[in-house]
Symmetry: C2
């Protein structure tokens, strides 16, 4: 996700939160992955906020996207200036109201923000996994999340919420463990990547793998493939924005100059912005995790895993209520893909609400503060809670 978002520290914060860790699948009871490979032990970093009610009926699982983490809301200390990535939505009185709901968010399997991934030490070699890390799928991520949820003693989730790759995870949750999912809110997502989305991910991966410092994934004891990862991030960034938002935000404005440089420095603001985003990203993200998570997203296809080629058949496996939201300027997962998803859900008689929100911010719109989105999510959760959990 983009760093485009400006976080404001607000008085309606969930306050201080703590990153916690849960380890499972200790050998020999390793987790069997969709590929058939085995992996263990597995650690998931996670955070919670709000209070679990006595009936454990107020649980909302939030699933993050490509570069996100478990830090969905609140701050790590009083001095922490940067709240969690969805602090505008999650907190007391907010769209996902932590006065009512108990929120769980875990870092996905394969990531680098505390959960097991390619940068983790492989117990068999006592070295970082690198490319020995097995290719994980969205389904594998969900299986790991399920282990965490059960570890927390929770049998049923009031709602699962996620945007982008987080949305794929929630769709998978709904058909893989239907008995555990009362409702789902897929935002700016798709049931499978288009050729265009795969193409962008593939070029980004190629940019990483073209960096000689990548060294086949074994770079953990030397310089990192920062240049390749920066290019990959820049490609991603373009897809998160939109023609319109870039026109408004940058246009053809020059960066700190009144005329062209006539060299290959950054002349335009949009160039400086992308370079900066690339540079900032490599400080916090692991190149191999980028490869693994984008591959999982490209592989994901709800029809393939659950519907024998049919999304209608796939959604026949769930009874969840859904609130599906797309954004007008999202060209990575355009509205037509959400509409197709909604159609397949409705053909199964599911209780589905759908809204396309007018927004110029492209794919990133789902992360930005948006009164319409907040109202929709609040209303949907209230209805589901009143109908089922009270």
């Amino acid at each position: 996700m983009s760093e485009y978002i400006e976080h404001d520290k607000d008085k309606n914060s969930v306050g201080i939160v703590k990153k916690e860790f849960f380890t499972f699948a200790e050998p020999p009871d390793e987790m069997v992955l969709e590929s058939g490979a085995r992996l263990g032990p597995i650690t998931l970093a996670y955070e919670t906020c709000g209070t679990l009610n006595a009936e454990k009926s107020n649980v909302i699982l939030i699933l993050h996207a490509l570069s996100g983490d478990s830090h969905v809301a609140g701050c790590y200390s009083e001095d922490d200036e940067k709240p969690g990535w969805w602090d505008n939505m999650v907190g007391p009185g907010k769209g996902i109201d932590t006065n009512k709901y108990f929120v769980i968010c875990s870092n996905i399997l394969g990531s680098c923000m505390g959960s097991t991934g390619p940068c983790t030490i492989n117990p068999k070699t006592v070295l970082p996994y690198g490319l020995d890390f097995p290719v994980v799928t969205i389904g594998d991520m969900v299986d790991a999340q399920k282990a965490l949820v059960e570890h927390l003693g929770i049998k049923k989730l009031l709602a699962v919420v996620g945007g982008s790759i987080g949305g794929m995870q929630l769709l998978e949750w709904s058909v893989r463990y239907p008995e555990m999912v009362t409702a789902g809110i897929p935002l700016a997502t798709t049931t499978r990547h288009s050729a265009l989305a795969i193409a962008f991910n593939e070029v980004a991966r190629q940019a990483i793998m073209a960096d000689p410092k990548w060294k086949g994934g074994n770079y953990y004891f030397g310089p990192k493939p920062d240049l390749g990862l920066a290019v990959a991030r820049m490609i991603g960034h373009i897809t998160y924005l939109s023609d319109e938002s870039m026109r408004h935000k940058f246009g053809r404005r020059l960066q700190d100059k009144s005329d062209f440089s006539f060299n290959f420095d950054a002349d335009f603001q949009v160039e400086s912005y992308l370079r900066y985003q690339g540079k900032k990203f490599v400080e916090r993200f692991d190149a191999n995790s980028f490869l693994y998570i984008t591959k999982a997203a490209d592989y994901y296809d709800i029809r393939r895993a659950h519907g024998n080629g049919s999304s209608v058949k796939a959604f026949s496996k769930t009874g969840a209520k859904f609130l599906v939201v797309s954004f007008t300027s999202d060209w990575l997962y355009p509205t037509y893909q959400s509409r197709a998803m909604v159609k397949a859900m409705k053909k199964n008689g599911l209780d589905v609400s759908f809204c396309e929100i007018e927004a110029e911010w492209g794919h990133d719109a789902f992360l930005l503060s948006n009164a319409r989105l907040t109202t929709l999510i609040r209303g949907f959760l209230e209805r589901v809670y009143n109908q089922t959990a009270k």
Copy 2:
């Protein structure tokens, strides 16, 4: 341009053509560039087809895009299997009918297909220019073309035709040398790059410059930055296609396998296609030329150079007739940009025809055989020729 296009050798070919060379701006009479830098000598590679009439009133100048060359139509020998890049449009009886018109196409300044560019030997150092080559602009390219046209004894062009970056050149021709341009056919182009178009070019340049083999542009005596250039080309390729065309051409079909590889090989056809295109491109194109030409395109802004910020004012400098064509699925230079151009032309009372062609092939559509486009171009040229050149 994309290699996406299948060329058919056809009986209506212009036949055997020859690449010729014109050298000018010999020191000390170097060409003064827009940046103020001086460059010379300058060689342009060019080709012609058709026959120049006695009045020299049947000349059509065709301007190529990023990776094109002077080889617009015909073949280099009887055994040559690959005709020029616009052979479907240029030839006897074709849209640009070489039975009637005399066609000139030259390789642009800064390119690597025979014209002077960064891979040319700098006479001052007797080494390839590399980044000592000055940053050239679309205007500089046009100035060099003008020298060639005058060298051929031609005072007026019946029409100037170009798509994409070639279209920018023709717009520049029309306002820089209005007395020489009777008509112009800008296809799938724009009067200036959007932030989105600049962003894609910048990321492609970053991919090249991130390749350690690029060595600040001085790679001509060693290994070339092939990996970086391949990534740059792949990024470009995605922008030349469209969501729709990629869905139809590739969808989620796997390449030579029935199941996922669960590694980082190319699983999907779209991945193989992009890797292949990247690989093929580095065999024929110079990485530094890619930097220079994309920079020229990003800099181009008809308002800035000719209109004091206004495109209406810029087009007040020309009396040319125009046929403007855009394509529905072109998201690099979307139709709204062509409409804005047409509006500015019309505000000057110019004779402008505009057509948005329904095509799913994205930006590349202008290069593909298209009956509608052929008919439009043929009709427009006939009208202009009958009105002015007969």
